[in-house]
């Protein structure tokens, strides 16, 4: 189906939209759970081969420049991974000598405010823009604790009865990071 974003949906469209929303929510919750359960390789399978996993940096800028307070495509970022580097991150954890995550941190992903943005067609290979918010809690060793909040703009590609994430932009609410490292995922 495709959503008519101009004008009201008919009953059938509304039902299809609701079912798709539930399917996407379920997908994102399951994804969060794979991370929190430390099923990193299974988590990677949710991403397409052309994934851009990107967390720009933020800046304090004047009101008139506020739209540039998220760094651009070719500027410095916290993460700007492709499939290969994302795989390297998982491989690094699996070495057992990645000291930032050895022993593993305890991480919880709280994902909320999930919604579909813009028009979409739910057919094989089509891409759907999905926005969500996150609150990520990380605790490691004895008392080291961090909470990081922000938003995600995901592009989900319909593949059979599920999706692949083919773009994830992570917009974090910090300029100077208050955590010593980002050795966990968003």
């Amino acid at each position: 189906m495709s959503t008519p974003m101009t004008g009201p949906m008919n009953g059938q469209d509304k039902l299809a939209h609701l079912l798709l929303m539930r399917e996407i929510e379920d997908f994102l919750y399951r994804e969060a759970d794979l991370l929190d359960e430390r099923e990193f390789n299974a988590w990677l399978e949710l991403f397409s081969d052309d994934i851009r996993y990107w967390m720009p940096i933020r800046k304090n800028l004047s009101f008139k420049n506020r739209e540039r307070d998220i760094s651009g495509d070719h500027e410095t970022a916290w993460f700007d991974d492709n499939r290969k580097t994302l795989q390297s991150r998982v491989n690094q954890i699996m070495t057992g000598v990645h000291w930032a995550e050895e022993p593993l941190s305890r991480v919880s992903h709280l994902i909320s405010n999930i919604r579909i943005e813009g028009e979409y067609r739910d057919v094989e290979g089509a891409e759907i823009l999905v926005k969500s918010h996150f609150l990520v809690h990380r605790n490691r060793m004895e008392t080291e604790t961090a909470f990081l909040a922000g938003r995600r703009h995901d592009t989900l590609r319909r593949v059979g009865s599920s999706f692949k994430i083919c773009k994830r932009k992570i917009i974090i609410d910090q300029t100077t990071l208050t955590v010593k490292n980002l050795s966990f995922f968003f």
Binding site: T76, T85, Q92
Partner: protein, 434 residues
């Protein structure tokens, strides 16, 4: 202060752990080191035009780096002279004035107080605006695109301060082809706070070869820019060198006639590397094969000119806390695809999400923690490969014969002690360098 260093004969060299945890020593460091030394504050490519500004730090202070009407870089304390509020709260931008949001004092690009409300009504005629401008550093210097500043009017000129490390920065901060082209900072600064003492970061940047083993996970995970390599393309033979000014560096030596198949994961980058490498050898000859890799300029301005190519300033925030500011550098003339490949490789390597640096910060944090408690009465051992330095015709400084050496850390703490003991720069300058 009393000496924190104990030299025990020819093979033992100790540093009190207390210097990484004592609040008193930390306060002395702010005065005796960070108010005296030359500190890295930014790069010319961050303020190309008149009125461009960039917020930076010196020690714990917020500083404005700007380009004034004469085109000169200025470094000023970001604090209104009236009640101290920050007059600039944007990380970067372009302006004609720095305006205080509190009581509306405003300052020009050169720091002069140019306006305050109700001056005639509120202040006596003797009020002298020229005495109430933003506080300026004593000296500013530029060097191969980088900008440095010091609070101390008696500090020697920057090149004298660099001493023998100038060679490494001159070559390392320039473009890959060693020509006159510009190098630029990739827009944006990574800033993050770590629970570690700043000296542990400085020690790492100065060439802590012994910690190489801590990065085994990235070598196994093969994060490098070439197919099948560990975290970097292969080095030549590595040599530590240090200078009496407190700077520690790492160089590599390799055969300039042997093929260098670097950046094989990116055909565009590999081609750009080959093209610039050829020109570099034409320009530098044998010196191209004696290349600086990384180093620390005393006290805590670290640079890495190989893989990755980056500058990090370790700003102190207390005995147990440091704010790291990291920027990445590329040749301005490099094709966009090359810049982009390097940008992504660099941030996958360094910074808080950098796979290599993540492990450093874990180690630095818990090493710092152990300098409190019982640690206050203990010492660290810095005795690896003592007395094994020589002079090299193509690498300036005291070059180590032994790779697994702590000679650069020893020099860092020797100079640290000199700064902490000195009454002024009169006690710190080298007569033969004047």
């Amino acid at each position: 202060m009393k000496s924190a260093i104990t030299v025990g004969g020819a093979t033992n060299w100790f540093v009190d752990r207390n210097i990484f945890s004592s609040a008193d020593i930390y306060q002395q460091e702010l005065e005796r080191i960070f108010r005296r030394a030359w500190l890295y504050v930014g790069h010319e490519s961050q303020i190309p035009n008149v009125g461009d500004f960039f917020l930076t730090k010196m020690g714990e202070d917020s500083m404005i780096l700007t380009r004034d009407q004469e085109g000169k870089p200025r470094v000023m304390l970001n604090s209104c002279r009236h009640r101290g509020m920050k007059v600039c709260r944007y990380d970067e931008g372009n302006t004609k004035l720095f305006y205080c949001p509190y009581h509306a004092w405003s300052y020009g690009l050169d720091g002069r107080l140019v306006g305050l409300p109700a001056q005639k009504e509120s202040y006596d005629a003797s009020f002298d605006k020229s005495k109430w401008g933003l506080v300026q550093v004593a000296q500013v210097a530029t060097f191969k695109g980088t900008i440095w500043a010091t609070w101390d009017p008696n500090a020697p000129p920057f090149e004298e301060y660099l001493g023998g490390a100038a060679d490494a920065l001159r070559v390392g901060l320039g473009p890959w082809d060693a020509g006159d082209g510009e190098v630029e900072v990739i827009s944006g600064v990574q800033k993050w706070i770590i629970p570690a003492n700043w000296k542990i970061v400085a020690e790492n940047c100065a060439g802590d070869t012994l910690h190489d083993i801590s990065h085994r996970s990235v070598d196994l995970a093969r994060i490098g820019p070439g197919e099948g390599v560990g975290r970097r393309d292969p080095f030549g033979k590595l040599y530590l060198t240090h200078h009496r000014e407190g700077h520690g560096l790492l160089y590599e030596k390799f055969d300039i006639h042997a093929p260098r198949e670097h950046y094989s994961s990116s055909p565009e980058t590999a081609a750009y590397f080959q093209m610039t490498w050829k020109k570099r050898v034409e320009r530098l000859g044998e010196r191209a094969g004696n290349a600086p890799v990384l180093g620390n300029i005393f006290p805590s301005s670290g640079f890495h000119v190989g893989q990755p190519r980056t500058i990090v300033a370790a700003h102190p925030r207390g005995p147990n806390e440091t704010e790291l500011w990291r920027v990445f550098l590329v040749d301005k003339a490099a094709p966009p695809a090359v810049k982009d490949f390097l940008r992504r490789y660099y941030i996958s390597y360094a910074g808080p999400a950098g796979m290599t640096e993540q492990d450093d910060m874990e180690n630095w944090a818990y090493a710092t923690e152990a300098c409190g408690g019982t640690g206050r009465s203990l010492q660290f051992h810095y005795g690896a490969a003592m007395g094994q330095s020589h002079q090299d015709p193509l690498i300036p400084g005291n070059v180590s014969d032994q790779f697994w050496s702590e000679q650069n850390a020893r020099q860092l703490y020797t100079r640290w002690q000199q700064f902490m003991d000195a009454k002024s720069w009169d006690d710190l300058r080298f007569e033969d360098a004047r």
